[in-house]
Symmetry: C2
Subunit: 420 residues, 2 copies
């Protein structure tokens, strides 16, 4: 088999550990130089392929590649850009073929969530119709943890650790203040369609009755009266109430609460922010003093408090992707398989991309308590191992010392432009 | 000198390291058992003294006391409660004397910000008029860093480290997303009257041009047109714009922007949240996609990313307070004196409470750049050493292992009630 170059790109919202997957890809590819030549990264995801804007990762030092493992964000740039269907947007696919041929690319690695696996699947389908097919392997990444087949998604465990740690810390603050000041604290977390991150907030509780007292999951329709009753009960019992709310909580009408609630002085709907909506509701109806937090990007980029388990898995799926590709596997994605909860053991299996693409995995009903405001013991068993282990980055002058790559462009070979 | 008991209480907003000051007080008092008997902590600050709700810290193990050093929040409860003036609220002071006499208290330690130092000062004045005076020593604590005399305030360095770390991490995220998605990121931080925390966000930048690109300090009146021009310039130059904004930013009319901006569907003013106000402004006027974060309590309780320097200072002022008191000093507060910037050296000096109480120290003009949107090299020299060093708490099952004290009550000796 002739040596072929590889293409790697990052797609969708980035995470604290997506660069660890990149590190896994690049280090493993360098170990297989008999099969993989250079790894070209797409600048800003698939856009880099379409526009022939490739990054030559062979110009990065070993040290810089190793430092990706402790650097958050997307080192080559990411994108929110979904390829169209093959029959309606044929030009996009033809362009990709053209670029891959020009740069002798025989391996395609796409690192992202459901949409990205769909892109990888489409490219694999296109490639299998060519004489010289491209090995297409998806690499799972989503903080939302909603990919099917894989037991969990790299990126999620670190967000879970961040939100559980942050909520535990904030709850210590509220406990000290509740006598004369803040009695209700509301933290809004990401996960618009799946409540995994909200569920992970429950890990902050070391024992029954510990905060958070209420979860508002997107899987459960928000009922104002039942919610306020629960807040009142909690305040009566504990003198305080700590709440984790998903950005994606919807009312009985199916509308996002974050959209329906607030408007600015000019009447524009406020962009995001269900926590202030819930806060206003409690203040207006119960009169309690509330504080609210919206960590937003902080939660998914908090490499300083990443989960060691998550980091290992992120690296492992990057490495496995390369191993699958050089074994001639295509249209697959490395998936994490859980072998046992405690002690936590896992390995990597091969998932067919056609079964991964465009599927979403919400928090299942048996993970949610009957009242809808909490998680069950089964959910706790599932979530607990994913946040275990600390993987601190190096610090310099009191701050995490993250790497910025050179990201030198590969000289263009095509004379045609392609606009996205 | 007869052995006397001591009273210790926490006041105002808590921090990641106020319990480290408590640890300094308790461990040092235990080393001086020839002079200090038991240390009674006020449950919920001075309210515990007024209501004779005292906690017997002698019942806490050495290990539990040591664990305070790595536990955020206020271990004995705090309060937002300011004593009235002596001549108008004489009953409060008489009650304190009564409680202190009943429990043989000869030392009074009050751990808080400007208001708390005022309380400590008033009690010292009252005490000096008695036959058996109480040694009153204030212990500095405020994340706002606005206490006078002391070079910095324990609690600030850890928030500074948190916000600079978080903003650096989020900026890596924005850099990856800016091609097709978020181009503007806005983080709102605490510090209603002083912009020290906002200024500390600038430490996230490793070099000129790095994010954050714009600071909105409460010391500088917000000018909408100048701000939008600056955002546009930044977007043109860097393709992205990262902004840190103080919750206390005011418009030219002197009104908080956070109050003037948003209302819910029922017309109630939104509680807090200047970040969404700025976001809406940018979206409406420039059309850029924005994300915003409000870490709120997360920033001041983030013990997991505390500054080792801050932690050492928090402990040192607790220890020094006890040493001052047993040396017969009263109406004083241990203050941090900076001896040099680099290498950073500091020691503890004695500040008279009368000069500390009710004074606020804003960010001085020579720390703010001419355009009002950044900090100067002098500010950077001041801030840089305060975030140095990591002081990770122990972790258990993937989460910080914080201590909850027994907080057993001291049996009441008085038959009278006092309502607050």
């Amino acid at each position: 088999m002739a040596v072929k170059n590889a293409f790697y790109a990052q797609s969708g919202g980035v995470s604290a550990v997506i660069n660890a997957s990149a590190c896994g890809v690049l280090q493993t590819a360098r170990q297989h130089s008999a099969k993989i030549g250079k790894v070209y990264a797409g600048r800003d995801g698939i856009i880099g392929a379409l526009t022939e804007d490739l990054i030559d990762t062979s110009l990065e030092s070993e040290a810089a590649i190793a430092a990706l493992k402790h650097t958050p964000g997307g080192a080559f740039g990411s994108c929110r850009y979904k390829l169209g269907s093959i029959h309606q947007h044929r030009a996009q696919y033809e362009r990709l073929i053209e670029v891959f041929r020009a740069h002798d690319i025989g391996f395609f690695f796409y690192n992202g969530g459901g949409d990205s696996q769909d892109t990888a699947y489409k490219i694999s389908q296109m490639g299998s119709g060519l004489g010289d097919p491209i090995m297409c392997v998806g690499i799972p990444k989503t903080i939302d943890n909603d990919l099917p087949i894989t037991d969990c998604s790299p990126g999620f465990g670190s967000v879970a650790k961040y939100v559980a740690t942050s909520l535990r810390e904030a709850a210590f603050d509220v406990a000290a203040m509740s006598r004369t000041s803040t009695r209700v604290f509301i933290m809004e977390v990401m996960g618009r369609h799946a409540g995994w991150i909200t569920a992970a907030c429950a890990l902050a509780a070391a024992q029954e009755g510990d905060p958070p007292h209420i979860l508002l999951l997107p899987e459960v329709a928000f009922n104002e009266e039942r919610f306020l009753t629960k807040v009142e009960e909690t305040l009566r019992q504990y003198g305080e109430c700590v709440i984790a709310v998903s950005e994606g909580v919807k009312g009985p009408d199916g509308e996002f609460l974050s959209v329906s609630g607030l408007a600015d002085a000019f009447g524009h709907a406020q962009l995001g922010g269900v926590a202030p909506v819930i806060t206003n509701l409690i203040s207006a109806r119960l009169g309690s003093k509330c504080h609210w937090a919206v960590p937003d990007y902080l939660q998914r980029s908090a490499r300083h408090i990443a989960s060691e388990t998550d980091l290992q898995q992120a690296y492992a799926v990057g490495r496995a992707a390369v191993e699958f590709a050089i074994a001639g596997r295509s249209a697959v994605m490395p998936a994490i398989r859980r072998l046992s909860d405690a002690p936590y053991r896992w390995d990597i299996i091969e998932a067919p991309l056609c079964e991964v693409a465009n599927e979403e995995k919400p928090v299942p009903p048996d993970f949610i308590t009957a009242d809808g405001f909490g998680i069950t013991a089964a959910a706790r068993r599932y979530l607990a191992p994913l946040i275990v282990g600390e993987a601190y980055p190096p610090f310099k002058n009191g701050l995490p010392d993250y790497v910025r790559l050179r990201n030198a462009p590969v000289p263009k070979k095509l004379t045609t432009e392609f606009s996205v």
